[in-house]
Symmetry: C2
Subunit: 429 residues, 2 copies
């Protein structure tokens, strides 16, 4: 189990809950369900016990790799009967320690459920519905699309019951929209085994502008999609001298039309003095290189030392105040206080780095950051969920009545509480 | 209560459930909660007892008109304690008899909850979040926008408990997405008292093309938004001679760019012979006049006689087969068999008219239409919900496990079953 250092701060309440321990008979049963895909080798298990950020570590002795929904169903039915806790795991790239066991939960990995079930391309049409076997991969591709939610998932409840509503219909209004409960429930209500997602056709023309600016507020008001990346560390040399950088992507069906609109916009912001320097790319490789500047931030931060990560939704006009405020409060105890995110969405990824984990830095950050966010009626987790690390802070963004209802739903859908038992919802008093 | 004629066919199972009957003491209590807004006048009640299509009629003796969430909460707390059934009602324009009482349910109308709470306009920005007091009005405006779901509703549970998650955040991933359960639950799980909806800015340029065509299939493949309106009755004279008509709306920020794209498209479909005649409008009034052709279909159908209405989702390539099939099956017993809808969404509004209600026509239509739809893995209600008229057909589109889970959710959230008791879910055996 977790102990000492950074772990202790996530306070797991009363410790391991009284679930069963995996027995030899369990192993034999699983071997019958997923022959050859019952992993107990500690070296192979290591990668599944530790999260991407290498900040949360569990001690599971068992990793199962089902290929089909039926196998997932049989695994869960067995775990339910035997009162074994289960940790669903996808790509294990989550940011809040939700994807790894806290103690010895059985790891149920969807890594082998990666085949695309069907792919319907309407060529020049509006959408191509596709059923994807791997929620993690599907989710990854979805991140780059605007406001995409799966149309339909198929999922398995804690007791092994399969709910198969998979379809490629665009519209359906029959009864309650059950899938919505499972999307974003972080493996605490069921295991999603397939999803169908509407994908807009690949735009024919893409332009990216990477611009330096002195003022982030006004930029946020004029561009619709905005990644506001703050200068920090080594990347500053790479990027230039502006205190703020913004990445703007336009996409459409006609390169000429898009270029015209983008040029108009650039003229406007340059002549107003809002933008001081920048570059524009339409070439595929250069577009990729500019996006890499944003995508590498998280990795670069992990190399800077211990990272305190917050993923907040805030009113756009107050977005950056928290960054400047914290720089003053933390002083030299922080190596960097970095803010970036989707400005158009009011989403701030706040990252603070220090040489090593420091209780004093943590004490300055928490609960201050959460209280500040709650005062602005913001969200303490805009994108990343709550998982293990943030389960205690749900109350900053949701009223007690909502928490109670969530606990009731959990009790209804997973009466023994075997699915991701130490995640998402606060430990019950 | 409902009796005879078209009503009997909706089979309300075991009849009125054993709820209390409104007493003089109840009226006095309501008068304290919503003074002056307790309506018992039968003439005023008439409009709330009958649905827009004038096909479902209840016999409620009490209409309440709260103005605030608090008042709704107090009303529900009282009804819950007293075991009084409640029928939430918005604009009463629903198509499935969900908005009117079946027996003597207390009508809780949101008609006076019509003030906009806040409106945040980001001028040139991507969205203007707005909190709207009237779900019905908000919903109405939302219909014209692509795939808009409320960001946040506020709602009151059956026992009067208020869930206030209202906010204008674009992103929030803390805990279960509770609001999704209530959206589309047709007043059976709670009463929504406020919503916040992201509205894209009004497009600066709008063009509408209204085109006649011999072939609907190919059109469906090349245009992204398509209303396929079939020639019928009087409107045929108005419209022209083509068997199919399609309405295409483009909207963007630059009239010049949009016109260029639309002209290219028109050239293409005209030269291919796909489109035979048509007209294009950019002028506001002419745009409105063209849209009116679509919007008046439902009203015109009601004047044609008794209307059997179906709102189906189907695979696009089979969409129209059902219409031609039914014309043959029904022969002269039907005045018109009309299909229209959003072809891009695979949504077919199927309408059959006959001189008067005829059990023989109904027998030919049902369960045939539902079975045909289920075979295509379609949805038996794409947009309109199930309400009272379609509650029995949920099983054609959702598996038994899903139905059971819906019943469990209903029991959890409304244990006495006082909210819209005869709607959405099938009568329990
Ligand atoms: C470099 C980098 C960049 C990132 N950028 C972004 C970003 O821009 N936006 C963003 O939102 N996130 C971002 N993330 C976070 C993370 O990648 C995403 O949230 C990702 O979608 C998680 O998917 P996964 O398959 O790895 O899930 P995991 O990490 O494996 O699991 C996440 C949670 O889902 C549960 N889960 C996994 N599979 C299932 C299943 N089949 N059924 C039910 N529950 C399941 C797990 O138990 C866990 O609670 C980034 C991560 C990295 C490493
Ligand atoms: C001419 C015309 C055209 C239409 N076109 C379309 C269309 O294109 N697409 C489409 O989807 N629909 C269409 N409709 C159907 C209907 O107008 C819409 O579904 C409309 O949004 C219903 O809103 P309402 O406020 O009138 O709800 P109502 O009819 O009053 O109620 C509908 C259901 O919601 C429940 N309800 C109402 N208020 C609340 C509340 N506050 N909380 C909880 N439950 C509540 C009711 O109990 C009922 O079950 C059309 C209707 C007409 C008359």
């Amino acid at each position: 189990g977790p102990s000492g250092g950074p772990f202790s701060r996530h306070g797991i309440g009363r410790g391991r809950l009284p679930f069963s321990v995996v027995s030899g008979e369990d192993l034999a049963a699983f071997e019958r369900i997923v022959p050859g895909r019952v992993i107990t080798d500690p070296e192979v298990l290591e990668a599944s016990n530790v999260d991407w950020l290498r900040m949360v570590r569990g001690s599971s002795v068992l990793l199962l790799r089902p290929r089909t929904t039926e196998e997932v169903s049989h695994i869960l039915r067995h775990c339910h009967e035997r009162n074994l806790a289960v940790n669903p795991q996808g790509g294990n790239t989550g940011m809040v320690g939700g994807s790894v066991p806290v103690f010895d939960e059985v790891i149920l990995s969807t890594a082998l459920m990666n085949q695309v079930i069907s792919f319907h391309d309407m060529s020049d049409g509006p959408v191509c519905p596709c059923g994807c076997g791997a929620p993690s991969e599907a989710q990854a591709s979805v991140q780059t699309l605007p406001a995409q939610r799966p149309q339909w998932p198929q999922w398995v409840l804690a007791d092994g019951m399969v709910l198969n509503c998979l379809s490629t219909l665009r519209k359906d209004n029959t009864g309650y929209d059950l899938k919505q409960l499972f999307i974003g429930s972080e493996g605490t209500l069921g295991v999603i085994t397939a999803v169908s997602i509407l994908c807009p056709p690949k735009p024919r023309a893409v332009s990216v502008a990477f611009l330096g600016s002195l003022c982030w507020k006004m930029l946020g008001e004029i561009v619709s999609f905005l990644v506001c990346s703050l200068l920090w560390g080594n990347q500053s040399r790479l990027w230039g001298q502006s205190p703020f950088y913004v990445l703007i992507e336009t996409s459409g069906s006609r390169a000429g039309h898009d270029a015209e609109k983008l040029n108009d916009f650039l003229e406007q912001v340059l002549s107003s003095g809002l933008v001081t320097d920048g570059t524009v790319a339409t070439d595929h490789l250069k577009v990729k290189a500019l996006w890499a500047l944003r995508e590498r931030i998280s990795e670069a931060l992990s190399r800077d030392g211990y990272v305190y990560k917050y993923d907040l939704s805030l009113p756009t006009e107050r977005l950056y105040d928290l960054v400047t405020d914290l720089r003053v409060r933390l002083g030299p105890r922080a190596k960097h206080v970095v803010g970036y995110g989707h400005l158009g969405d009011g989403n701030l990824h706040l990252n603070v780095t220090s040489e090593a984990f420091s209780p004093s830095v943590l004490g300055t950050l928490e609960p201050y950051v959460y209280e500040w966010t709650a005062e602005q009626r913001g969200s303490v987790s805009a994108e990343h969920g709550l998982g293990f690390k943030k389960r205690g802070v749900l109350g900053y963004s949701k009223p007690p009545e909502a928490l109670r209802l969530m606990q009731q739903l959990k009790a209804l859908l997973d009466p023994k509480g075997i699915l991701n038992p130490y995640k998402t919802l606060p430990a019950q008093a």
